[in-house]
Structure formats: C-alpha cells, structure tokens
Symmetry: C2
Subunit: 471 residues, 2 copies
Amino acid sequence: MELTCGSGSEREVLLELVREAISASNPYTAVKNSLSVRDSAIYVNGQRIGEFRNVYMLAVGKAACGMSRAVMEILDVREGLIVTKRGYAEDCPRRRGIGVLEAGHPTPDAISIRAGEMGLKLARKADEGDVLLVLISGGGSSVFELPESGISLEDIVKTNELLLRSGARIQEINTVRKHLSRVKGGRLAMEVRGTVISLIISDVVGNRIDAVASGITARDPTTFKDAYEVLRRRGVWDDLPESVRLHISRGLMGKARETLKRDLPNVHNFIIASVEKACEVIARRGAEMGLNTAVLTTQLEGEASEAGLVIGAIAREVALADRPVRKPALMVLGGETTVTVGNAEGTGGPNQELALSAARKISGLPVVLVAFDTDGTDGPTDAAGAVVDGCTLKELERAGVDVDGALREHDSYRALDRIGALLRTGPTGTNVNSMVLVMVGRPNAGPQDSPKQPKGSYTLTRTDHGARHGG
Amino acid sequence: MELTCGSGSEREVLLELVREAISASNPYTAVKNSLSVRDSAIYVNGQRIGEFRNVYMLAVGKAACGMSRAVMEILDVREGLIVTKRGYAEDCPRRRGIGVLEAGHPTPDAISIRAGEMGLKLARKADEGDVLLVLISGGGSSVFELPESGISLEDIVKTNELLLRSGARIQEINTVRKHLSRVKGGRLAMEVRGTVISLIISDVVGNRIDAVASGITARDPTTFKDAYEVLRRRGVWDDLPESVRLHISRGLMGKARETLKRDLPNVHNFIIASVEKACEVIARRGAEMGLNTAVLTTQLEGEASEAGLVIGAIAREVALADRPVRKPALMVLGGETTVTVGNAEGTGGPNQELALSAARKISGLPVVLVAFDTDGTDGPTDAAGAVVDGCTLKELERAGVDVDGALREHDSYRALDRIGALLRTGPTGTNVNSMVLVMVGRPNAGPQDSPKQPKGSYTLTRTDHGARHGG
C-alpha cells in the first residue's frame, strides 16, 4: 500500500471525529440530549421518571455551570446550588434562588464544606412529590464535602495526603473518603424524601457511578472494614488524625453510619456522558464513513509510552495483515494513561507521549493516530494531544529529534511541536478523559473532496470546533 | 456472567493451546512440516524448488541441531556444518561429513569465527546443480561470524559493546554488524553458485528475514551510510577500533563490498516457524473450539507490566461489552515484552510480570490469560510464564501478596508461585518468542468432559507436553 505523506485528507477525517467526540461529550450538550419534559413529566434518555411539584437542583463538579445552564433552559428550577472549581464559574447561570460557590480543587477548602452544608440542606427540602436534580461531574469530590462530626477539614486533608504519599490507589483513597463523609458514598441521597435524578458525566475509567465525585447519590460497595484495611495495608493508620481513627473504629463496631448499601427506589442515576459513550459515537460515525470500526477498550490505563507501543503494534498488524480489523479500519480506545516523570525535565502530556511512542511502530505504514484529552489540556501544556502517522518518525529524524531521547526525557511536546504534530483545541468544557483514534488505510467514503491542506499545527478552535491549519 | 473460580476447565483449554503453539513451532517439527522430497525434487511448503545433485547443509543458531536432525531424516546430506550455542549440541546428529561446533553466545568467540570460515568454505562447494540448505535460528548472529579482513574478533566485540552501552536499538546494532562481516547481510548467499534454500525460524518481532541471525542469506536494506549514521548518532564513532572506522570509511567511498542489495534468483528464503505462524495456528484451533478468535498483534513490544494493563483493558471490554470480540472469545498476541529492572531485587520474567499486571484489570471477570515464552524459560526463572484469571487478584490478596509492590519490585515469580499460578514447561527446544492467549467466557465446544482438576502449579512436561497439576 502506498503511503502518501504530507496529504492531509486522512488527518482531516480523524480531526472531524475528534470534534464530534468532544462535542458529543460537552456537558451542556449531554444534558440537552438526555433530559426533556413532555406533558409536564421529566424524561431522561426517553425514560419517563414522573411529574413533580418542585424542582431543586444541585450541581457539583468542574462541569457544574454548563450542566446547570442546560437544565435551567429545560426546567423551571425552584431553588438550586452550583458548586464548581475556583475559576470555572465564568459561564455559570446567575439568578435569584441559584447559589454559586467556587471551591478548592484538587484539595477541598472551607468553601467545599460550606457547599456540603448548603447542599445537604437543599437536598432535605426536596419533599415527596418534589425532585432533586443532581448534576455530577469530575472534581465534585473535592469541591463538595461535609466531614462526619468531630472530623475537621484539616483532618480530611491530612488523611488524603497520607494516603497519596503511601502509594494508595484512587479506589482505595475513595473507600476511606466515603467513610469520613456525610455526603459521599450515597449519603446525600439518603437524606432526600423526594425523587432524586442524578445526571452524571464520568471522567473515571470504568464508569462506576460510585466513583464519580465519590458517588453522592450512588450505592457504595465498600465498608468501614474495607476502609480500615486500606489504612492498615498502606501503613498510615498510626499517623492518622485521632478523629479519623476514632470514627473508623466506631464504624467497625457498628456505631457510625455506613454508606448507602442498597438501591433506593426514589433515586435514579444516569451516566449521560463518558468516554465509553464518546467511543461509541465515534465508532458509529466511523462505520458511516465506510470504515471497519472496533472499540478496543474504554478502560485504557498504563504508562503512556508503553501503551503507545502496544496500540502501535496492533495498528501495525492491521496494516500488514488486515487483522484484528480489516482495512480501511478505525480503532477507538478510551481511558486515561499516565506519565511517570521521575527526574526528567521535559514538557509533555500522556497523550502526546503515547502518540510519539506509537509513531515508532507505525513508521512507513498507512496509519494515522490521534491521542487527545477531551478537556483540551494534555499534561501541563497548551496542546490537547497529538496526531502522528507513518511519516512522523522520518520527519522527526529529519528535524534532528532524537525520538527515544525525547521519550526518555518526557519531552514529547517540544519534539512534536517541531514538526507541527500537536493538536490544539483550547479548553473544550468537556471532560470525559482521553481517547485514541487509529485509522489504518483510507476510508472509501468520507470528505475526499475536501481541499488538501498543508501539514501544520492542527488547531481546533474553541467556538466552532472547526479545523484550522497553522504554520 | 458467573465466575467459577477454582474450576480448571477454562485453564485446561488454554494449556492445550499452549502445548499446540509450542509443538507447532518446534524446530524439528517445523522442518518436517515444511520440507519434503517427491520424485527426487525438493519441495518447501508444497512449492517445488528443483532436483539437485548434491545437498550441502549449513545450520546456525540455537535450534541448529533439531533442524538438522529433521533435514537428515528427509534428505541425503553430502556434507554439513552445524553451529550452535555452547551446551546446545546434546541432541545433535553426529555423522561423518557433518561438523558440529559449539560457539559463544551472546558474545561471539574464536569458535564463531572458525564456524564462519568453515561455513563460507562449505557454501562455496555448492556448485551449479547443487543445493545449499541453510537452517537459520535465533542466536546465529553470535555463533556464526567472519569479520572483514583487518578487523579482529576483539574489534567486533568492542564495537558491539560500545553500541549496546550507547542505547542503540537492535536494528541499529545489526546495521553496523552487517557492514563489518563477510557472512552477514546476505554476503554468505552471494558466494554460492548453486541454489540456496534457507529455512528460517524467526525469534525476531516483525519477522524481517534480514534480522534473524543477521540475515546471512537475505537481502539487506541498510547501507554503509546507514551504519555510519548509527555510529555517529549514538556518539561512538570516535571510540571505535581503528580497523572498524577504516572499513566503514572505505565503504562510504565505495571501496568496500556492500551487503546483498537485490533478490538473487538462486536464493529462496522461507520462514518456517515464527510467533506469527504460531498465533495463526492457535487462532485456527480456537475457532475450531467455537471461540471467536482474533489475533490482536504479532508484534507486541513494550514494558511487560504496562502491556499487561492494556491487554487486561481489552479483555475487560470483551467481558463487559462484548467488544472488540464477542464472547466466548480468544485473543492471541505474539511478540516480546521487556522488564526494566533498575535496582529492584525481585525474581521474575516479562511473561510473569505481564500476567500479574493484567490480573489487576480482569479481577472478578470470566477471563483466563496465559503469557509464556515459547522456549520455556521466562527471565532467569524455571517458569515459562503464568496463568491468571478473574480470581487471581483475590487469591493473591488472600495469600498476603502486595500485588502493586510485587510489580514495583519485579518480584512476579514469588508472588505467582504462592498461589500456584506459574506455568512450567521445562526447556521446549522451541524459540519463537513469547505469546499471550486471553480467553473470555467459556468455549461452547471443547474438552468439557475433561475431569475438573484442582488448581495448582500448571506443569507441561517436556516429553509429552501433557498438562499435569502439582501441589
């Protein structure tokens, strides 16, 4: 198969898919697409939930403003509270009866506690016949918190820090957090007499609803015993604040309240946006374009450069042996890879590093790969990710870039920037984690009549999500 | 889907496939399956090569003895030379006219050079009407060598060491090696007036015939200029032995002989065993068992534990969402992962580490995964690899194993041994690299009436390759 380097049309197709993935997962759009009112009844995803007297709204997380805006265009909200990360409230709807708080993230602060108090109060207002609409997105765990009595904010922060330093996994940390809180682990939902409808945007690999924003309306599978075992296993028990040890001990003896352990009939949780849904949207679009599509996984994890090698190896197999998918093929992956920086002083992000690493495996083959964070920010850079193809390795070498060295130094940003392979979208307002799209071969259908563009920095503008090519 | 922990029947199916993969790739078997004589003519894979007066045989590499034995059962060999790694000649055929040499590996020694001289002499004996049967397997690059005149064995060894220390990739090292040798890079084949039939067992990811044993009968795509650029790029040029610098410089000026640059009509190269072929055999067998099979890649690379996470993520997707393959599914991967040990003091191998890492992602799911080295030796251990399933993580935790810690310390062997998850085959005589087989769900057809065995150390015995279960 001939490899046409420098032709932008395959990249154009992929960038179109990137735009669609970001737009389909946009918080405002996701609420608009899932929530509706017909004959005075509320529907979610076409499912009738019921008619309600009063609508209360509690939005927590980084996407709280966008989600609230959509809700307030659809429903008549009697009273609401929007809690988001400091600096994220710019496009928040402002109205009498709708409180807006900007709280600490990634570490909770006094405003987070105030938000927890106010949120709990609001939740209790939703009486039988009323509905509490809970809008949940990533970051909610930090901006919305209310510790059990006797436990201070400082105790919570210190416990978090101890666990983080001990190498505990995020699931383990969440298990502990939930058992120190009066709102997490479904505890908020337990306070509501009316109906609860939670619309959830998941930024968590695996889409466990109890994991997004520590699941304030979700059943919690973990127990005080689990929390205790985490603290013991990670060797932090003895260093914990006295109040935390006391509360966990009381829990073990059945003297403290457990998290929500059953499905409440008045609580309805819906994931309305997630990397899984975004992957499915893209797979459908790819199929419409005549591509043989396969969602390889929606639970991608691991060290970015190594994941890039494995994904590159699969792309190579498609290119050379027409398997596991026949050409023209589109493979879609969702999830979150990580970069272990160590002492390296380079600049980059997991998606850039994944793409740069994969470029080594697809060199000379008719493969185009884009890896990007749906929020538009990959690592501490102004890029969302990168686009690489079968010519990228040669281009990098021609530009004098030592690819192995750049990967070793975690300096993917500068390497990719030299050949205009970075993808820049600006902040998207969307956050359903990262995606990797791999196209092998040329789609039969698709925008073939689109003008060939010179290669360059691929920029998705914020307003129209249209592709633009810079120097 | 229900997860039946402790039932061995899914494992039985996978172990049966392991046995078939190893047996199909066995050097003796591979030659027997590909080489034949009908009406005095030699056939390879059913393709008629021709009738020949005299048959000469040159076998180099770790599998040289087994391959030779098969050839000598099929053909009347007039004269031959078998060159293998020291200690690998036990089952070598011994006969008048067949020389056997045991040479250095991984570093060439004086016997390697003696082998190169004798091999070149033998190759020149094959006149028009004769055939030189060349049997190539991994390790050939070291046990069979003849430097260009003026370059000593020490110069070759020093150049190799410099390149290895510089972080050069194996392809780069081979590019240099080929341009210092009178046998590598197709140079041996250029000396033969008669017909050359090369039967190649590939232990190289990607199956480039010029890469196995430095391609003594294969066209070489690299040039003196490439070799020079490698030496410059890796910063070793100034430290090279004078003789090496001189020879490369002469090559750049067109005054030294280039490697083979075209397909010679009298040379026929066949890959008769490789991880790719083994993957295809297993995929066919899986399909016969009623499993939906997919070869994900035959070019797997990367850090073992991270590859395990990605493969685990794909298995998870199959288990939870029936994609990219529907259940019951068998996914097959081939290649070679690596373990970057650093200062860790654990015991293990890449396949064990891959399996242990993947166990974290498949926990609670109806997945069985086996990762193994086809040569029976994974890292510096007595295990070939490991078998893990949806219960493994829980079993490890119950046994008090800190899984993340074991991975961090590269101590997969001891962790897996505690729960009897190691796969022991003993030396197999086969070496086509490593494979990963992942079964999700239960096969409809298959050995369902086989007695359920208690879980334990899964041992494949050397003689009959039959599964046995120990304590």
